[in-house]
């Protein structure tokens, strides 16, 4: 190789190193923004605490011997706010990651847990619990387990149809859309036969909110994320290859069918475990990956963590606004996410050069 060519190679590699640094900075920036937002979000709410009071209450809960705070402040912060804030972070993070995985492997910019019928199946499950009172578990968990099981049922149905027809992105998207319409129809039927209160409960469920978060629910969601996200990151190269097409992936040594199924199962599981607690918070899973991709490109090594952070920021930001804009009234977060995210998304979309 000539000296000039070698020099050129160094230039290319340096350029790439710069790109990697920019991305790392972007992720770092998102992370910092999220930490700050968490800090702000815990101070927001109908009970009027100052920032100092809120932080003192958090510290008093963590280190009871060293710090002390009034019992009421501590109760409100620990029992009502803190887990809610962290739940919004986890839910946003998970939904965005599930969305980027689905968009990637199905190679469809519209793929998300919602367009694929997983959310609509969860709504059906919840409706059956609300309207008919039928379900596997009883009490508080009736609606949750129903929503979760139906979400997995939808994923299974999509997988079954795709399996029969030959696993491929197109079959999965079409099967997903069919499943979505089917479950929507079942939900409509249940709404039709339900009483006014039941109808209201179903509609409320579909707005999506993090109102009902608790520490145990947060623990379940974070456990699922802790088990799945590192694995997805570990297989980022395979996701990259699959995003380009089955043929490319196969020729690069990726077991295409097996991987597609596994990734779909993981994405469905993450979605199911989140929306069974929150109701349908649409939009995050669809838009957070797009926003992130426009900024950092499609490499899953960066895309996964970055879109997770964008999702967390979006959902927590939306929830904070939902709690403060009409306080003490709390707006359903699903409505706010759309109001907040859509204009931003449209702005990025119109600004993009290769749109």
């Amino acid at each position: 190789m000539t000296g000039e060519a070698m020099e050129q190679n160094v230039v290319i590699q340096k350029g790439y190193a710069r790109l990697k640094k920019t991305r790392a900075l972007f992720i770092g920036g998102l992370f910092t923004a999220l930490v700050i937002l968490i800090g702000v979000a815990v101070t927001l709410g109908s009970a009027d605490f100052t920032v100092d009071e809120s932080y003192l209450a958090i510290l008093a809960g963590l280190f009871p011997g060293i710090f002390s705070a009034p019992e009421l402040t501590k109760t409100i912060i620990w029992d009502y706010r803190l887990h809610r804030v962290l739940f919004a972070v986890c839910a946003g993070f998970g939904l965005a990651i599930a969305g980027s995985v689905m968009q990637g492997i199905l190679r469809n910019p519209l793929a998300s847990p919602f367009t694929l019928g997983i959310a609509s199946a969860a709504t059906t499950g919840a409706s059956i619990a609300i309207v008919l009172g039928a379900g596997v578990a009883g009490g508080e968990y009736l609606v949750i387990t129903n929503a979760f099981l139906f979400a997995l049922l939808a994923a299974l149905a999509i997988y079954g149809m795709a399996r029969y027809r030959g696993i491929g992105s197109e079959t999965m998207v079409l099967a997903g859309i069919a499943v979505m319409y089917l479950f929507s129809a079942v939900t409509s039927l249940l709404q039709y036969v339900g009483s006014a209160e039941q109808l209201q409960a179903v509609v409320f469920w579909t707005f999506g909110s993090v109102d009902k978060s608790t520490w145990p629910k947060l623990a379940i969601v974070s456990l699922v994320l802790a088990c799945t996200v590192p694995y997805l990151l570990y297989r980022a190269w395979d996701l990259n290859a699959l995003a380009e097409g089955d043929e490319v992936a196969a020729s690069l040594g990726v077991p295409v069918e097996r991987s597609m199924i596994l990734f779909m199962v993981i994405a469905s599981l993450i979605t199911a475990v989140i929306i069974c607690f929150t109701g349908t918070i649409g939009f995050i899973g669809l838009v957070a990956p797009h926003i992130t991709r426009m900024v950092v490109g499609g490499d899953f090594r960066t895309l996964l963590p970055a879109s997770g952070l964008v999702g967390a920021l979006l959902l927590l930001g939306a929830d904070s606004i939902a709690r403060s804009v009409l306080a003490p009234q709390v707006l359903p977060v699903g409505i706010v996410t759309a109001f907040l995210g859509v204009p931003f998304f449209i702005y990025l979309f119109l600004r993009r050069r290769d749109a």
Binding site: V10, V248, A250, D354
Partner: protein, 263 residues
Amino acid sequence: MTARLSVEDLSFAYRDREVLREITFPVAAGEVLGLVGPNGCGKTTLIRCVDGMLTPRGGRVLLSGREIRTMHRREVARAMAYVPQSAGNRTSSTVFETVLMGRRPYLSWTVSPEDEEKVAEALDLLDLRGLALRKVSELSGGERQRVMIARALVQETGVILLDEPTSNLDVCHQMAAMEVLSGLAEERGLAVVIALHDLNLAATYCHRLLVLSAGSVYGYGAPEEVLTEEMLRTVYGIEAVVKRDLSAPYMVPVRSGGLRGRA
């Protein structure tokens, strides 16, 4: 000596429609084989069978004497690269990363400086230096094709299969791509299989041609032997003159029913 790639009695059918019938050919290290034939004759199907993406109904594919069916996917990916037709339309990554993906059969997660160096080398070889940090989706069709060829090169395989790699390239880049491929075949002892529409390009750069006609081998051999007026008439149904006064045979189609037809 064992051929780098050998295909033996390969047959394939979509349900009951037979697409390939008993195809046999070897490709030695350092050899460029051109797959030619009219549209729908089975070139792409053959390449996909060889790469293991389609399961043949009969026959076998051997890589340096080992049957591909007995090999692990990753092993196959280290031995054989594939450049599909019109690839890369969906890629929103940069050129550098798209080519880097070719290292996937060797990578787990981290990328070593050597991997990056190999990518830079391949970019250099295919005249893509200036585009390294651009998004693939922003490139022209021809540039994308060169990106895909670069990716196949960093896969460092002994065999490269290419499906119409020059279809979107202008004549200058067509020749450049073929120069690179035939040069590498010679230098690194690669076995290269290229499906091509342009018979003259195939005759210029390929050591051997395999003519497919309706799923069967019509002819196999050096371009001088295979590219004949008789073959063009039978396989393509066209009248053409094959000139033999250049370094490689050169065919010029004759307009059938031209002025004479109108008179």
